[in-house]
Symmetry: C2
Subunit: 412 residues, 2 copies
């Protein structure tokens, strides 16, 4: 049998992270690669009793559900988005997806056609690049610094390419950990509104903020929220230029695969129509478990997130102290204000892909930066995750990485 | 904001079943419409204790998993497919999906390009037609009778259209409930192998067989299996012309959204690459619950399926006895050997869509046949589900339908 696959699927290279995970299978490997939350922090007992409650009532719990997702959880999310993100929408503006990854894919399928142009940060989330490549669109990177896309280049790219969509991770971006300033958020919003360009605001890490342990800064009552969502700045829930997406994967647990998309109801209707054909609906049991968890008397998601933040910040500070060591003096990086990653610039000419091959042999994995660029990859960047490995692993792994970098520098 | 959706998404009409469900929302309605299993038969207690076991161990249970799906469940499915379907494959030949619906969509995305031709039964499963329409392929129906596609027309269509794929539901087909004869299965297989056309064999209902309560007929030890899977007839697991898909939705519960695809490992690799970008993986908790359920000491899936069969057969016989009544004498139908549906031919000139509008006003819903045709719909067909409603509802609903039909016939 001669199979005839779609060319851009057959030719697409597998994700670097995935290939790295394969390299590490069955080996004792310190992985600073994935974007994995720390499983020691998963609220196992609370999820277990939530599951028990979800499965103790009407057997309707295991029946087919509606494509948009479990209504009580969507209602709960509307409340939570209003309280914490200043996003005020109704049930018709929100749908549940299999992680926020599926929200990206569904939107791409209903909104993008081959040869459409999509603007992205430079660098950006690699799995969004994969979605866009499968859609055969032109991906155009916009010059970006630690405050977001640079408005002048954004305007130039809009004039030059007439893009249909812009994809951004404005808060604790993947891979750089950057946070967009309010000015840059407004500049993007205004430019896109003027030119009717859809913004996909991907916010998986927004709740993982450091140095803000009371968790109240994002409250609607506080007009000084330093990182307002672009959706909330738009204040056009019924005619929004923004599609907002987030997930429980980083705050509760990835295995439950529950993300959500918030948008104008026409966008949600189109995405729902597509999802109906894609998988009918996502796991209804997971959605009911999350609802029970949010309603639990013995569990507070806000308290849980606060604990995660404290723990992740402490690991971030450990990695920062190691990066400040003499071993790493030829690298540069900025301290992340939240999220899961350090983005490290290696000495000129040091190829992070080559460094990875050497360091994997020594038992340490990371993600080389090249995969995060839509075009003209910078080869001397690396992404380091500080949330998943233990303190001992982080310390040991960083020493091995520094040693490998030292060998490369000495050789060149 | 002027949204610019992809035209074939914006223009696509919503599923008739979905629209009917909307009509029935909030009303006391007898629905013979959906393909819903009976929730009274869901193994709630067994699922609840399986969930408890899945959540009692290593917190790794809630971490990201691999895209192909939970390895122990895939291993278990390989055993089960060998025992019950004479399908002998390894881990590299099987992946888990969000229901078998997602397997259809993933295969369409890796294998079909716009303007490719796909052959389907006439009529066929409407949600597969939706997937194919979103891929912008040409859908060509092949003349079909109660034994499957008619070989002469199949050969003609192959010559005329050079199709890339054929989609079939050979065992207890949706909507007709038909079972393909072994001769027709072999004729399809041989034609497709000769012309290198991929067969997508969709088998959601295969285990819901009537008049076979010991459940052993599909055992590999029994060479007389009257309905062998086309995949098993191919006997080319490593170079198969067939992609086989099935699901736990009809045997355990739909909310767990777990289906699987079995194919040559290159096909599984491509579908996995696409799925990585689509949603990373399906619910890992659902997959672990199903694994725990299959391994439970206090639950036997085979025994459970046997109970479902008995119950569904008895409801089917009730509906059959009603259809044999004088009220329905101007209709024709065949007795299903399994599955969930009667496919009823109404008197010439009676439009089932018009009948639906009338019967919904009287409190009964069904699915008119027109949506199941890729082209030139027959308007005088209806699909009746006998698994979801109670006996009383079935009896009452069928009387109301007969009354409505009588009014139409009297008027014409």
């Amino acid at each position: 049998m001669q199979y005839r696959f779609v060319p851009n699927v057959q030719q697409g290279k597998a994700s670097a992270v995935r290939e790295i995970l394969k390299l590490t299978q069955g080996k004792s490997m310190i992985s600073l690669a994935g974007g994995l939350p720390n499983e020691a922090l998963f609220p196992m007992e609370a999820v277990r009793s939530a599951a028990d409650r979800a499965l103790s009532g009407d057997p309707q719990a295991l029946q087919y559900g509606i494509t948009e997702g479990y209504v009580p959880l969507r209602e709960k999310l509307c409340e939570r988005m209003a309280e914490r993100k200043n996003i005020h929408v109704g049930l018709e503006n929100i749908m549940l997806t299999t992680g926020s990854q599926q929200a990206i894919d569904l939107l791409a399928r209903v909104y993008l056609e081959p040869n459409d142009v999509v603007l992205v940060e430079n660098p950006t989330y690699l799995a969004c690049l994969h979605v866009l490549r499968f859609r055969d669109v032109h991906i155009v990177p916009v010059q970006s610094d630690e405050h977001g896309m640079i408005p002048e280049d954004l305007e130039n790219k809009i004039k030059q390419y007439a893009p249909k969509m812009v994809y951004v991770v404005p808060t604790f971006s993947n891979p750089t950990g950057n946070v967009w300033s309010v000015e840059r958020r407004l500049a993007l919003l205004n430019a896109c509104r003027a030119h009717e360009i859809l913004i996909l605001e991907d916010d998986p890490y927004g709740e993982l903020r450091f140095g803000d342990q009371d968790g109240q800064a994002q409250d609607a009552a506080n007009p000084q929220d330093p990182f307002p969502t672009i959706f909330s700045l738009d204040q056009h829930p019924d005619d929004s230029v923004v599609v907002y997406t987030s997930t429980f994967s980083k705050t509760v647990a990835p295995a439950l695969r529950t993300g959500w998309a918030i948008a104008d109801k026409r966008v949600i209707q189109m995405m729902t129509r597509m999802k109906q054909s894609v998988d009918i609906h996502s796991s209804m049991l997971d959605q009911q478990i999350l609802y029970e968890l949010l309603n639990a008397t013995d569990f507070s998601l806000d308290q849980h997130i606060s604990e995660i933040r404290t723990e992740y910040e402490s690991r971030m500070l450990l990695m920062k102290s190691l990066l400040e060591g003499d071993d790493w003096r030829e690298t540069s990086w900025t301290t992340p204000k939240g999220g899961m990653f350090f983005w490290v610039e290696l000495p000129d000419g040091l190829d992070a892909d080559a460094l990875l091959r050497v360091s994997v042999m020594k038992g340490v994995a990371f993600v080389p930066g090249s995969d995060f660029y839509a075009a003209e990859a910078k080869r001397n960047r690396m992404r380091l995750n500080f949330t998943h490995s233990s303190r001992e692993q982080i310390t040991k792994g960083m020493h091995i990485l520094a040693e490998s970098i030292g060998e490369f520098v000495a050789r060149s």
